[in-house]
């Protein structure tokens, strides 16, 4: 089980968290202007790197806050990210 560092509660078991997918996926500035393909890319296409990956987690069983960490997908080593 992963030990995930919640910025508020400290390190906790993975079972207390909900996964939120890739971080830093910005909402399109003008969604109406996107083609169907661009919209589908925004909705469904995510990076799948081998190595460091910024991702969102929600501490559902604790403080119920979202935060961002960087997880290395090969080693599962997690480092905190300062931005919320």
């Amino acid at each position: 089980m992963l030990l995930i560092p919640c910025p508020w509660c400290g390190p906790r078991d993975e079972a207390e968290f909900h996964y939120g997918g890739q971080a830093h996926v910005a909402y399109p500035a003008d969604p109406a202007a996107l083609t169907d393909e661009e919209w589908a890319r925004y909705l469904f296409f995510r990076d799948n790197p081998m190595g460091p990956f910024s991702e969102r987690w929600n501490h559902t069983s604790g403080c119920r806050r979202w935060f961002t960490v960087t997880r290395d997908t090969t080693t599962n080593a997690i480092t905190p990210e300062t931005s919320r």
Partner: protein
């Protein structure tokens, strides 16, 4: 006829006999008022800043109320929370501002199980991943976590006494788990 509105209320653990022996004492503390407090800690009025704990994962007694710091902008007050007198507000339609404190009564959301005695930490450690050693989780600490897969708020009080705040719908399950785990003690 004036009926007492509290006459017929039944607490979530009304059927729980509790546990009582030399090393362990478990019983429900029903019907304590609980109030959720939301505010921006950077913009607290002095009257509030004096009452609220401001270190993560701690609680403090403020008058007759225990106030737990749950999240960056969220507290839970247990006991009757005497309101801080607010400035009279001329514009009642004003929207909630950043320096406002928002109170919500959540008394019915959770009930409290009191677990006390020398065996209390060992009992809780059966179902909780947190380090409950007194040097880490001593009096004055609180945490939201999972106990036996149920979401709870743990509150460390004096002398091996813990309060477990558990959602009303999970209370009977957790009481059954505690009664089972307490067989060892």
């Amino acid at each position: 006829m004036t009926a007492d509105p509290h006459a017929n209320r039944i607490s979530p653990l009304a059927g729980f006999a509790g546990v009582s022996d030399a090393r362990l004492d478990v019983r429900e503390i029903p019907f304590l008022r609980q109030t959720n407090v939301r505010a921006d800690p950077a913009r607290l009025l002095p009257a509030w800043a004096d009452r609220l704990p401001l270190a993560p994962g701690t609680w403090r007694r403020s008058g007759e109320t225990d106030i737990l710091y749950l999240g960056p902008d969220e507290w839970l007050a247990i006991g009757d929370l005497t309101p801080v007198p607010a400035e009279p507000r001329a514009d009642t339609a004003r929207r909630v501002g950043q320096d406002d404190v928002i109170l919500t009564d959540v008394s019915a959301q959770r009930t409290i199980a009191r677990v006390a005695g020398p065996g209390a930490r060992d009992l809780l450690a059966h179902g909780c991943a947190l380090d409950l050693h007194p040097s880490v989780f001593g009096p004055g600490r609180c945490a939201q976590t999972m106990l036996a897969r149920a979401q709870v708020i743990l509150m460390a009080r004096e002398r091996d006494e813990f309060w477990i705040l558990v959602r009303a719908s999970f209370a009977r399950y957790l009481a059954a788990w505690i009664a089972d785990a307490a067989v060892d003690y």
